[in-house]
Amino acid sequence: MNWIRERANLLAAVAVGSALIVVIPAVAEIYVLFQLTLFLVFAILALSLAWVWGFGGILCFGQSVFFGLGGYTYAIAVINLGESTVPLVLGILLPAGLAGILGYFLFWQRISDVYLAVITLAVSLIFYYLTGASAGSDYRIGTALLGGYNGIPSVPPINVPGFPERVVVYGDLYVLTAIMLAAVYGGLRGLLATDFGRVVVAIRENEERAQLLGYDVRITKLAVFAIGGAVAGLSGVLFAAWGSYVSPNVFSMTFTAQIIVWVLVGGLGTLSGAVIGCVLVQAAMTWLGETKVADTNLVLGAAFVVLVLFARRGLIPGTRSLLAGLRSRVRSAL
């Protein structure tokens, strides 16, 4: 029974994955792909928080730090180097490294939930102010002007490694992003199935018991956090490449809260929920921006309140329990 269900889940994941990577780019128009690319970029970011918070139990209010750092690193490096391979790798490694340092700072002193949230939020805002204060020609790294609140415009796109002139844009960028999303999703799933993954979940479930069994909670959390940082960094790189710009807005409170909302809407403690929550919220915002039915804030705000009151645990867990309820009702009726 269980075995079948696991197989079914795997099959479903493969089906969704191949639809994303193969079918959609074949049928969708270029501007639709362009828009979907952003959703998928954000979905990767949502996955990073879903992993760090939903599985690692780390309430991080500064996931945008790693996203933004990834974007800035990529932008600065690619403007200087003119070839995107090294910048892409740097854009993943640097955020992971920062997450490592921050993690050492946080986890080696037992800092509890809300305090951790505040510290990560504060770090994010420090980045916001510092990048914001970089207007003017004095602030440059190599040939890249930081640009203050305006950010860095005209960031070159990703290219095929070794071929700076073969750029990955529009449809190609979509496919690349979809593959990355699938890889991150599959990678995190795979990681959760290993003994390391079990320890991660065990720590979330009962930190003290895990310690009493001899697991070093600090180093495990550090690893979780660094992996989350790397994934967020990747998302940031793709974001900068997608929009050809990056600005301090990515470090702002609004953006950082948005990531939390994606994860919560989908349901904390699931990976697929983060992806679905993110795509739904972003699609709703885009739709409101196009149709202007009503003030975006008004509609979205009301929707969140209603969602919480009627599907407390988020959409995916909510749907799951709804389905389970239906199934048992059907079964008992039979």
Partner: protein, 244 residues
């Protein structure tokens, strides 16, 4: 000079603000012993345990394991040195299955195969094989106690600390637990905190009585339980076996 005891505390002290929970306790347990700690609520038994596992950082004094100072070491480091504890209220990974819970405790067993074997072995011993894929959070109380005992066993620890292993169990379950603990004592060193004096009599070689953060009496079970001061301390307390 004989070999160092497996566990030794020297003037171990723990204060919370103005309250002294553990007051200069000198305590030793030799390898292979099964020792029971008794004493009224608030005597400092659980705090003492928490100082041993590193969950509390002692205010003063020393904890030595096989002669090596482990005072103030991190909990996981002490656990890796072979100290394992069953806590008063079973601490489990509620969102994981019974089998996963046990598997997590088998980190010392070696490779994947060995861990799987060990997991199955423990599930059999604790009689939880049929619940292997059930979520630990959905187990009834008695089985939670057994599962946690299973976690402790799975690590093959040098020293087992059992904090009220029979709390909330039926008479029958207590007898089974006593049997299990006795069989474990054959190749483990065990310190158990217990209120149930019948259980203590069933299993213990020696008993240490805690009172107001200090050791009140220590010695063979029968002798200590017959001690007048010990009876006074317990006076007014209903026998633990009737408490639930």
């Amino acid at each position: 000079m004989t070999q160092a005891p497996l566990l030794e505390t020297i003037a171990l002290t723990k204060r919370f603000g103005g309250v002294t929970a553990i007051d200069r306790v000198d305590f030793r347990v030799d390898a292979g012993e099964l020792r029971c700690l008794i004493g009224p609520n608030g005597a400092g038994k659980s705090t003492f345990f928490r100082c041993l596992t590193g969950q509390f950082r002692p205010t003063g004094g020393q904890v030595r394991l096989s002669g090596r100072d482990i005072t103030g070491a991190a909990t996981h480091a002490i656990a890796r040195k072979g100290v394992s504890i069953k806590t008063q209220i079973p601490a489990l990974f509620d969102g994981l299955s019974v089998a996963e819970n046990v598997r997590l405790a088998t980190r010392k067993a070696g490779n994947r195969m060995a861990r799987t074997r060990k997991t199955e072995e423990i599930l059999t011993i604790t009689g939880l094989s049929s619940h292997a894929s059930q979520m630990a959070g959905t187990l009834p109380h008695g089985q939670r106690q057994w599962l946690e005992l299973g976690l402790v066993m799975a690590g093959s620890p040098a020293l087992m600390l059992l904090d009220e292993p029979t709390a909330g169990m039926t008479r029958q379950e207590v007898a089974r637990t006593a049997e299990l603990v006795r069989s474990l004592a054959e190749d483990h060193t065990i310190i158990a905190v217990e209120h149930d004096l019948q259980f203590v009599q069933m299993v213990a070689d020696a008993v240490t009585v805690f009172h107001q953060g200090q050791i009140l009496a220590e010695g063979p079970a029968d002798a200590v339980l017959a001690d007048r001061r010990v009876r006074e301390v317990y006076l007014g307390q209903p026998p633990a076996s009737d408490r639930c």
